[in-house]
Symmetry: C2
Subunit: 591 residues, 2 copies
Amino acid sequence: MSARTDLMRVALAQLNATVGDIEGNARRIAGMVEEAREEAASVVVFPELALTGYPPEDLLLRPSFSDAAGEALRELARGCEGIIAVVGFPERSDDVYNAAAVLADGEVAAVYRKMHLPNYGVFDERRYFQAGSEPALIEVDGVGVGITVCEDIWEPGPPATSLALAGARVVVNLSASPYHAGKGAQRERMLVQRARDSLVTVLFANLVGGQDELVFDGQSMAIDQDGRVVARAPQFEEALTVCTIDPGAVDAARLRDARHRGAVLRTRAGTGAEARARVLARLEVEPAWRPGEVGGPVADVMGPEEEVYAALVTGVRDYVEKNGFDGVVVALSGGIDSALTALVAADAVGAERLTCAVMPSRYSSEGTRADALSIAENLRARLHVIDIGEPMEAFDSALAEPFAGRDRDIAEENLQARIRGSLVMALSNKFGWLVLTTGNKSEMSVGYATLYGDMAGGFAVLKDVLKGWVYRLVEWRGGREGRELVPRSAIDRKPSAELREDQSDEDSLPSYELLDRILAGYVEEDLDASQLVRRGLPAEEVERVIEMVDRAEYKRRQAPPGVRISARAFGRDRRLPITNRYRARQATLPR
Amino acid sequence: MSARTDLMRVALAQLNATVGDIEGNARRIAGMVEEAREEAASVVVFPELALTGYPPEDLLLRPSFSDAAGEALRELARGCEGIIAVVGFPERSDDVYNAAAVLADGEVAAVYRKMHLPNYGVFDERRYFQAGSEPALIEVDGVGVGITVCEDIWEPGPPATSLALAGARVVVNLSASPYHAGKGAQRERMLVQRARDSLVTVLFANLVGGQDELVFDGQSMAIDQDGRVVARAPQFEEALTVCTIDPGAVDAARLRDARHRGAVLRTRAGTGAEARARVLARLEVEPAWRPGEVGGPVADVMGPEEEVYAALVTGVRDYVEKNGFDGVVVALSGGIDSALTALVAADAVGAERLTCAVMPSRYSSEGTRADALSIAENLRARLHVIDIGEPMEAFDSALAEPFAGRDRDIAEENLQARIRGSLVMALSNKFGWLVLTTGNKSEMSVGYATLYGDMAGGFAVLKDVLKGWVYRLVEWRGGREGRELVPRSAIDRKPSAELREDQSDEDSLPSYELLDRILAGYVEEDLDASQLVRRGLPAEEVERVIEMVDRAEYKRRQAPPGVRISARAFGRDRRLPITNRYRARQATLPR
């Protein structure tokens, strides 16, 4: 096949931006622009708010912040010759807009303002931005290229449909679309649908990397007008993916397909404003011609465990690196949660930067202690063994008077956890290590954790991982290694906090299998007691769990941030009052 | 003066609702409706979302929650005869609206939907609600009564101006307007202006009481068309304020004042939709006639210290009572912050429910120790003295190996604070008391506090009180008592954390006087370094403080909630990323 001159070479710049690091982000954007130009791309697309990182939250309320971004943008534009770069930035004019700038010929040639501002889940965009009011496109060598930002393209109607009717053969989408398990596949289905809806080539450039609780998974893509994925960037990695698209095929398809206009009009909200999209700039590029076929590299998509594990590793790595920690410390109990936390930590920052603290008490069994040591050894991490017997006795003696005549209870159990918390924090303070906490989502949901004890630390790796998934991930990671990382005994042992003799988690909680099903329904799907019971879950346990979840809100409010891997994590996407007398456990439950 | 039949008797129901307690709130609303009817009021106005409490946050995402509120509303309506009640509730129909229901003759006679949804500061209303689209009024015995909800009336134009032009002589406003220092006066000025703008009587019913970090100050009011406050409810107290208004005077004023229409039209946004307000219901009431003059009780407004102190007491009391704690415990250091915390606690829940823990170490001076004991004694609170020497030694010995060859530093200092934190939490766990933490806003801003140490606890009383204000409040409260509560030596002593020999806060921080000025500018006004320097603040200290504030974000994220008394507290109204490389301290600072 001979080179066709109506093909277009484009680049998807899957950037790992750092929030607030305008200078650093601009430098990396400039580097990727240069790389794309060397690869002879005509257009390179960056993610939403690439210049500032996403989400910058209340930094956007400081005028100097948006001004600094605008300054950096103009500086970037000056270096932009022989290629067109589309870059996300916060535009401050009469108000602040979530905008996409088109950089070409040394200038900011055009600016599009995001029309659909999400204000649900983890998003607060109406707090910061004014919505744009009209769809916009540019022409590149005569080819209409529509511009959209993230949420814009999730809407089935305008602006995408308007752009297509106004002549766009390509629709670019700048995104900062956060990860949760299965999101990549869901998002890909949506983008395929949009390409088909409007018979356009979709160029989707997504952010990658961790930002506090959010992880962005990348998986940028080029999708042709028939919904074929012609290029796909890898998940969870920074990447510049260059590919060749065929805008001419869009015309051919539209000519062939008399349904085109009808297809566009059939989509929701597709009436009225259809063809009203402004052409902001007509641009020409002369890249060094690079022959080639339509398409580009198509990265494989990860399986479910691989994907979640990669998200955890990315979240931890970026939290550590972007905040400048020398290393991390994990308290190993010999149980499965701390084992997984240590595995993720070692993969994220390297075993040489991981310290494991094993802190046995008189209630620790020989088995858990031995397993903890094995895990540290298998990972080849630094190890400190610190016995907490003496501090326990010192607290008992200090509290002898106020506690006189009282039975031992949860107060003494929590003290053990708090002694351990104080010890890992002492290591953190002395050596500059970040403390990674080890509690999982099942425990965090029902408050089966000690504030300032096992909850003490800077980042909660498994905060959004239900117990059942902890097992799946340990098994999956073990399988990949080909040698034993976590001893079988640690996986098979009945879960216990070991804060008193012969304790078992199931003394206080339903079985984790049942607990996880109730939590999936109550926390992640907002179902009430009656709906859960109709799913066949036992009414008594449902009520008990819902009550525990509601009561533990005050603990979660003081929990460290952790990686979000579900569609409803305990963070920005679940905002509940602490003072709250609503009892969802009773909601219309038949009595 | 003889009784005039064109007067109207109205009641402002300043309710202390509890979030989520739909049943309890409904019961209290019914009680106040009954009381207002006994007082011969024709109309009784309740606060915004009175049925659910405010803000219910993500409870609003559960359909069963709004449904339960709707159910309770209809039940309330059934008891509403011989009086008209206007009650705030979340209305679920095609979407969810922040609505005001008009209850009359045993039915829900009309529903108005809030038009202006605040989505800034502490507000997230666009996350939950759809905006209403049209101004609405009712007629009560032939008098047009316009209905607005909170933010609606802060807007100078519609709906208030539209309502006036459409014939409203009275505009009611259902509010949940949170307190910050000076807010009451600011709000009163605004309401006076609105009454004058549109020549209407304004009836403002505000929520009262604490909800997590927010405190609502009440101060409900009736304001006549000339801007005179004819009735005012007390601040920070539940109250039913009944007064007589004169809608006829509105007509007279309008006839007299040819400027009326012009005045309305001059206000911002006052074009186009002016007179488009729908009359939702025409109602008649026959209350037992009660003669009287125009007006009602006018409560005095508190002075600045009294007001802030009352806000703190209200916030603590409602957090304790609404969450069902038996009592509270405060760690007294002998310093001024813990002294004020204990004063507020005693006033909030009574000294008999307050326990003071004094926990000296080898670095505690005789003076601070003696002062701590005096304060507990003066307050007549329960006292536990717990020496932390032994736990300190036990930790030193446990950490001997990992810390071998290292100098003593912040790690050991923090351990002392964490031992104290663990001890008060042990008291909390054993006896069911809420731990009140004692750090002030100046310290919280710069991170001069120990996570899981002095920050360990359920509620941070002074979280939003700058150090300078801590002194003002202690002096003011002492003056009110007429006997010594806090020894002079505790007030005059140089502030110190006493975590090492001869430590002083000013070793690590600028003077509090300077620190507070920088914080007021940077945190509360969003000013950057250059703007602060232009105010005459020293550049080096400005940069140092800004850096400390930015770095401490991770600590604040794990801090307990506390009472908001400023326009920018560390809570819902300041949302910054932890991972954040933006350096506002350098913003355009001349070098």
